[in-house]
């Protein structure tokens, strides 16, 4: 049996997405900027995707800009906003548990003279709104907070955060990295006072190399990619028409039954968590209830290094990811897990299960069965 539980790394594409992408690459292969009919045909797909996404997020079509994925969207939001607004201030705020696409970009901005504040998180990986309020200064130009943490699934209170940011400093921009939350939870930027949102296509059963950045029309931002002036000059480069069409299709499909799907995922998650807790010395990282995302379960199985657990499960056809990459040669400690105050012993033995709409109850049962078999065996052999 093959059980793919690494959907936070990437997902299998919807069959409808695959056929649409293949069809466009074969037949409607024109350059959306060409003046002839082939170009016009191609452009229709861009418009359709924009309309789909804008409709679901209740924003304007012209506020959606297509990118190469989550990393580019994050880089653009941070650098583009910082460079366009540096005269109003040089202070940025983010959290300690962001994706590297945010953290490394912030480090780069720091080298360029910006001042960065990192918000801490509690043991469940959630920020404190009080700490956020106190961190905002008159010269704060941007706050960036992720929607759902990729390692432990903690949902951040971004709906309330927007209100607090705008109350404290109306000029401060608010960016949300929604790569892990989009498609799983409702996201309403206008209502929640969010100025920018990053989304990636391949996390929602769309094609890799696709994504978008929502930018509120009032936001002052600079491009980070220059060239032929596509997308109103904000993001140059020939539009990835098949990719964008696939992204639009995936968005449409994942939101079609979102309420039921999310409910089903929470049930599966509950089953997995309670099954995991039947094993001795297992710690679930992050929220176990509905304050956590429906599709992510991070578990530390004391005494078994994550890499070993991962490969043992792989042997049984179950694909998961190591919560924090670790080996005797190189120690890369997870930013999120250490910010949550996890001890090294647990950190080295953390694995992440991430579910998708394709995950079945049978697959969860099989996974648990494998764990019950493997854990006692692997615990016999530990480094003494």
């Amino acid at each position: 049996m093959e059980v793919y539980l690494d959907n936070s790394a990437t997902t299998k594409a919807y069959p409808e997405v695959v056929s649409l992408v293949a069809d466009i690459m074969t037949n409607d292969y024109g350059n959306a900027s060409s003046m002839h009919l082939k170009g016009v045909d191609a452009e229709k797909y861009l418009k359709y995707s924009k309309a789909t996404i804008a409709g679901i997020m209740k924003v304007k079509e012209k506020e959606i800009f297509f990118t190469s994925g989550g990393t580019e969207s994050d880089n653009w939001a941070l650098m583009g906003a910082a460079f366009a607004n540096h005269r109003s201030g040089k202070h940025l705020i983010t959290t300690k548990i962001e994706h590297p696409a945010i953290l490394r970009t912030m480090e780069h901005l720091k080298e360029l003279g910006f001042d960065i504040t990192y918000l801490s998180v509690n043991q469940y990986g959630q920020i404190s709104l009080e700490e956020l309020r106190n961190a905002i200064r008159p010269d704060t130009i941007l706050v960036s907070i992720m929607f759902v943490n990729n390692e432990v699934g903690a949902i951040q209170p971004i709906d309330e955060a927007g209100e607090i940011i705008k109350q404290t400093n109306p000029r401060t921009l608010f960016h949300v990295d929604a790569v892990q939350g989009f498609g799983k939870l409702r996201l309403l930027p206008k209502k929640w006072k969010i100025d920018m949102v990053s989304v990636s296509g391949h996390k929602i059963h769309g094609p890799k190399g696709t994504g978008f950045l929502y930018i509120d029309e009032k936001v002052k931002i600079k491009p980070i990619i220059y060239g032929g002036g596509q997308q109103n000059g904000y993001r140059s480069g020939t539009e990835n028409v098949p990719g964008v069409a696939g992204l639009g299709k995936a968005t449409e499909l994942i939101y079609r039954n979102m309420v039921e799907d999310t409910h089903r995922l929470y049930c599966l998650k509950k089953k997995l968590v309670s099954g995991l807790l039947k094993i001795d010395h297992v710690k679930i990282n992050g929220p176990q209830d509905e304050t956590g995302a429906p599709h992510i379960v991070s578990a530390s199985i004391a005494g078994i290094r994550s890499e070993v657990m991962l490969h043992s499960l792989e042997d049984k056809g179950v694909y998961v990811s190591a919560g924090s990459a670790c080996s005797s040669h190189k120690h890369t400690v997870s930013d999120t897990l250490s910010a949550m105050g996890l001890s090294t012993e647990y950190m080295d033995s953390t694995i992440r299960f991430s579910l998708s709409v394709f995950t079945t109850e049978e697959e969860i049962e099989y996974t648990l069965k494998c764990l019950y078999e493997l854990v006692p065996m692997l615990r016999r052999y530990t480094r003494r």
């Binding site: 890499e307 070993v308 490969h311 080996s327 052999y381 480094r383």
Partner: protein, 392 residues
């Protein structure tokens, strides 16, 4: 401009009546190396020399790089062929050659002529002197030095006239295929690929064995070893990689033997298994990347303890090398970047915090008896279930 290469070889020249065996092996290795790059070449062996003629367009740098990986070659001379259309034309060709190859003319030179075609109107000495004159007239900055010249211009008069001056150093050594076969214990670290390269340089063909311990070592760790074997095979030629699943044996030793002796006992079994595969495949020895004192299992005492289980000779070309010297070679043969990828290998997973550094062979032998119950059966299974990867 160059259309051919003259291949110089060092040690083969002294091989007496066996010389043809070495030359034929060298030609075979050259042809194999050239078959993998763009361009068509013809290799010929005449009068104790090997010439490579390009019969189509080719990339000079790519060709030289490929030849620099052929053991047995001591020097590669890029050659220009010109038609014999009288001495005056030859003078012009030589001027042209020097102008192209040496933009800076502040050099000393001498001309060395050889006549294979003895009916050429001038003697070798006359050609030397006359061409020297032509060069001095054309380039006033150049000076003659017959003892220690910067440029030794070689002119060979055959059916055509060959002109060459530069000798690009080759890798040296002996052609692969002239020295028997050995079994390399490949770990994924820095040392073992270098050891393989060095043994192969003496003309030895290689096979390799890797001990895989899933799930403790990952598929990527195995891929890393395959990649390393591929780099080594660029020099040694295609090789067979035997991948042994070592997990059960390792866990069994772990359960039955004192923990601080785990690495030594494990290595003794690795050597035993490697020797079994070696004998089965007509290998005449084992090769390891060990170097005295580098780690706990490579002290003199530990080496003695692992060595005693083998009947075949164990070749350890790096035995007296410092780590940095090994790293230098691994960078030269392009294995370094791959070797340092951070995947756990089978030697490190259960390693004790304080392994024995001076094992007593008698004690080790005694403790090893704890595994005698099942170990033979497990070795048999490991040999039966091994995966063989053809690396080329």
């Amino acid at each position: 401009m160059f259309t051919a290469f003259l291949i110089k070889y060092a040690e083969i020249g002294v091989k007496g009546k066996n010389r043809y065996i070495f030359e034929e092996a060298l030609v075979r290795q050259i042809e194999f190396a050239l078959s993998k790059i763009d361009g068509q070449f013809k290799t010929r062996r005449t009068q104790g020399r090997i010439y490579i003629d390009a019969v189509s367009a080719f990339d000079f740098d790519e060709t030289v790089t490929a030849l620099q990986k052929v053991f047995g070659i001591s020097g590669i001379c890029p050659v220009v062929y010109v038609e014999d259309e009288g001495f005056e034309k030859l003078g012009k060709d030589v001027i042209n050659f020097i102008d192209n190859v040496y933009p800076d003319k502040h050099k000393t030179f001498k001309v060395c002529t050889r006549r294979a075609r003895k009916n050429y109107p001038k003697s070798s000495m006359e050609v030397n002197a006359d061409l020297g004159g032509v060069i001095l007239d054309a380039f006033p900055d150049m000076k003659v030095d017959v003892h220690n010249p910067d440029v030794e211009l070689n002119v060979e008069i055959r059916e055509k006239i060959y002109i060459y001056s530069e000798v690009i150093p080759g890798p040296g050594g002996m052609p692969v295929g002239t020295g028997g076969k050995a079994m390399l214990l490949l770990s994924g670290g820095i040392d073992s690929p270098v050891a393989g390269y060095m043994i192969s340089k003496r003309g030895v063909t290689l096979e390799a064995v890797y001990f895989h311990a899933p799930p403790y070592t990952s598929e990527r760790a195995k891929q890393k070893v395959v990649d390393l074997a591929k780099y080594v095979s660029e020099y040694s030629g295609p090789l067979k990689l035997h991948v042994i699943n070592f997990t059960d044996i390792q866990l069994y030793i772990y359960e039955k033997c004192p923990h601080d002796e785990l690495t030594i006992i494990m290595r003794r079994y690795m050597m035993r298994i490697a020797e079994m595969i070696a004998k089965e495949n007509d290998c005449l020895g084992l090769v390891t990347g060990e170097s005295i004192g580098q780690v706990a299992s490579q002290t003199m005492q530990a080496l003695m303890a692992t060595n005693e289980v083998c009947t075949l000779p164990v070749y350890r070309p790096l035995i007296a090398f410092d780590k940095q010297d090994i790293v230098d070679i691994s960078e030269k043969i392009n294995t370094y970047e791959t070797s340092i990828l951070p995947f756990e290998d089978c030697c490190t997973i259960f390693v004790a915090k304080h392994p024995v550094t001076k094992p007593n062979v008698n004690v080790i032998r005694q403790h090893e008896q704890n595994v005698f119950d099942k170990i033979d059966e497990m070795i048999e299974t490991a040999l039966q279930t091994r995966e063989i990867i053809e690396v080329k």
